[in-house]
Amino acid sequence: MPQRLVILGGGTGGTIMANRLRKHYGADELTITVVDRDDTHVYQPGLLFVPFGHVHVGDIVRPRHRQLHHHIDFREDEVSAVDIEAQTVSLAGGDTLDYDVLVIATGARLLPDETEGLTDAGWMERIFTFYTPEGAAALAEALARFDGGRVVVNVVDLPIKCPVAPLEFSFLADAYFTERGIRDKVELTYVTPLDGAFTKPVASATLSSMLGDKGIELVTEFNTGSVDGDGGRIVSWDEREVPFDLLVTIPLHGGAEYVGRSPGLGDELDFVPADEHTLQSKAKPNIFVIGDASNLPASKAGSVTHFEGEVLTENVRRFLAGEELDGSYDGHANCFIETGFGKALLIDFNYETEPLPGHFPAKVGMPLLKNSRLNHLGKLMFESVYWHALLPGRDVPGIAAAMPTSGKEHPDDDAPDAATDA
């Protein structure tokens, strides 16, 4: 009898895991079932470019089942609950799946309704999010019509997917309005609950000063309590206000709804607690978590999902063989940050090491935490790497799960000042 692997979610992490494990086992050793509620795989990093008309939603979606290798059973259905004791998954369509090993890859869910007023007056008229394909497309139309006024980019609270994306949006908006010749008629404001532009000090200083250079006002420690679409203002819990004509919101995130309906599986926000290094869930030894669905203190990013995939493939194999798990996931994340006008920064970090200047992956390579055209080309090239190497489960040359250290300049070894270097 083959053992049964069920993967919940057929996005970045679910697809990587299914394809990598399929290569490893014959169909008579392991059956692999992937469940997703739809058959539309979105290349989410591409959503950033949709509002500016550089990319159309149709360009960044492909059928999910086509990204999966042969002998992977794709089920298009909504997961409605997991019974971790009985080892079963129930689907909204009425079926039940039994598993020996379960991989949770259902990502993060947007919760705009949890912020008072956000989805009331003005939603999808003067209030948008580019985190969904519909939102990004509607924002593209609104921006095309926009000829001046206050544009506010607001991160309601963390965690969010790709924490640099709202900053990238702001930089690209600056470039977009400049290219349209109306930058002087637009007031751009970036409003964050953090005490700087980013979570980690060195990168935060660099990015905060880049906002300043581009004339984007930075409002920090703003915990959004409510949104007044009619009055055009966001209001913080401590009663500060930021007025807007156009609001670009990054709504609250949580885990998938079924997690909350599955006793013992998730936390207060429906994320699934897991070991930081092995990715085994805290709920049961035969449940593993990959990507945005976990509660790990790592970025919710595709690069993280990809690096986790390498360690998790090995751990599912070890678990099935009854061996001790590999605890080598180090929190590695690697993100391009688009800064407009054909340039980008690259940051590379893990649980222990914050993003530092230097080069990636070694002393000769792409510049880290520094604006360059090469990084922008890297970001654009990444879409093809995503469909053709990352999802099929091929190793991407030069990019490994463990964070490289040789090209990084540590603050104590005489690093150039990141802020002035940028």
Binding site: T199, G225, D238, E268, P297
Partner: protein, 105 residues
């Protein structure tokens, strides 16, 4: 590592005044810690939040965020801000003698 004195006892704190070792904290220290945050009187509702912070820290090794406080402490976010006006997660952590809540990434 800096030290500070509360209720007549020396404790270890970080640069921002958060406790490094929560076992050094006693309830008798809370009023002084609160005063340092501009909170003159600790009401029963303050204490509810302070005790909740302690038990969350014991269970999870980090203080909760405002969003989780609002969902699980029994005190709505609006009221949390009335009790701890400069940010409930940080201020309540400080008064409750637990380390600064781990930032999100």
């Amino acid at each position: 590592m800096p030290t500070a004195t509360y209720a007549g006892t020396d404790v270890t704190v970080n640069d921002e005044g958060f406790f490094e070792d929560p076992t050094q904290w006693t309830e008798a220290m809370a009023p002084e810690l609160a005063a340092g945050e501009g909170i003159d009187t600790l009401t029963d509702r303050h204490w509810e939040v302070i005790r909740f912070m302690r038990s969350e820290y014991d269970a999870k090794g980090t203080g909760p965020t405002v969003r989780i406080l609002g969902k699980t402490s029994g005190v709505p976010v609006k009221e949390l801000y009335q009790l701890f006006p400069k940010g409930p997660a940080k201020q309540a952590a400080k008064v409750a003698g637990i380390p600064k809540p781990r930032g999100c990434i």
